[in-house]
């Protein structure tokens, strides 16, 4: 490899590395605005923890903690108000699922309608391992 090629290759690697680092940190960005943050740190941490588990119904693939949509902001404020009023985490989750269903939870609960979602990957994995094992045994 010539010296020029070496330099070009190094530059490409550096750019790719910068892009990867940028992508990694951009995923942990959040949308909470300064005026939303609660003075009580314990309350704020609870609100952030709950917000990370709540799906933004508008963007659907983000939590309300990361989303800039107006509804996500309304829900973040609502959660903080509920915490200030003395609601516990369970009560807040129930309040939200009563209105938006289990879909608002980023981690779906294990119930009759989501049982396939939780267990199919495991069943497929087991079937795959069995077929591989059987095929391997047969070919020997």
């Amino acid at each position: 490899m010539s010296k020029t090629n070496n330099i070009i290759f190094t530059k490409i690697v550096i750019i790719a590395l910068i892009l990867c680092i940028n992508q990694f940190f951009s995923n942990i960005s959040y949308a909470v605005e300064p005026d939303e943050i609660l003075k009580n740190q314990e309350y704020e941490l609870r609100a952030r923890k709950i917000s990370k588990n709540i799906r933004c119904m508008v963007c659907q693939n983000q939590s309300i903690d990361e989303s800039n949509s107006p509804l996500a902001k309304d829900l973040r404020i609502l959660i903080r108000n509920k915490i200030k009023e003395g609601s516990n985490d369970k009560e807040i989750y129930i309040f939200l699922t009563d209105r938006y269903g289990d879909f608002i939870l980023l981690k779906p609960p294990l119930n009759l309608s989501t049982i396939g979602l939780w267990f199919f990957p495991f069943i497929f994995l087991m079937v795959g391992i069995y077929i591989l094992f059987y095929h391997n045994k047969k070919s020997r």
């Binding site: 119904m57 508008v58 107006p70 509804l71 209105r99 938006y100 069995y130 059987y134």
Partner: protein, 177 residues
């Protein structure tokens, strides 16, 4: 022989799941539309300020004894303007009571907007901060709900009412009468 039978099962199982997925792809549905969690439940209890009447609207007193359409709208929402013609048809041609919930809007603009396009609503309620919308599980206006005479939510449509949806809502109203 037994082992052969067992080996046939996974492909059949896989094909079955693939067929279900394929079926979900070809049927007419909007995957981003989330079914309402309030279906077949009582309308949320709320109070709101009416835009034109000088009194408070109390849901438990007003939403009962007849089929009602509840429509979330705003003047800044283009699809709301598009569906307005259908809302007027429900009110004027079918004589159905339609309650409008004005979502995060400017009251002066709403008054002007309704004066220009016509007011099909029996009452327009102000939802300044979107709290009523959250109680109804609304996530994108316009949204329209059918409430039966017992105050139970029977249907929710997300997005503007089109000709097809207008016919569908009419059918559902007839079924619930």
């Amino acid at each position: 022989m037994m082992k052969k039978k067992i080996l046939i099962l996974p492909p059949i199982f896989f094909f079955l799941i693939l067929s279900i997925l394929f079926y979900l792809l070809i049927i007419e549905r909007n995957p981003s539309e989330v079914p309402s969690n309030l279906l077949n439940k009582n309308v949320p209890i709320f109070e709101a300020q009416s835009l034109f009447k000088n009194e408070k609207f109390i849901s438990s007193q007003e939403i009962k004894n007849e089929i009602i359409l509840v429509n979330f709208f705003a003047t800044w929402c283009k699809p709301c303007r598009d569906e307005h013609v259908y809302i007027k048809r429900f009110s004027n041609e079918k004589g159905i009571k339609v309650i409008g919930i004005n979502y995060k809007d400017n009251s002066k603009k709403t008054t002007k907007w309704l004066k220009k396009l016509g007011n099909p609503y029996s009452d327009v309620l102000i939802d300044k901060n979107g709290k009523i919308a959250i109680d109804w599980g609304v996530y994108g206006i316009p949204e329209t709900f059918i409430v039966n005479s017992s105050g139970i939510i029977k249907y929710r449509h997300v997005g503007p009412i089109t000709d097809k949806i207008y016919k569908k809502i009419n059918l559902l109203i007839n079924e619930n009468e």
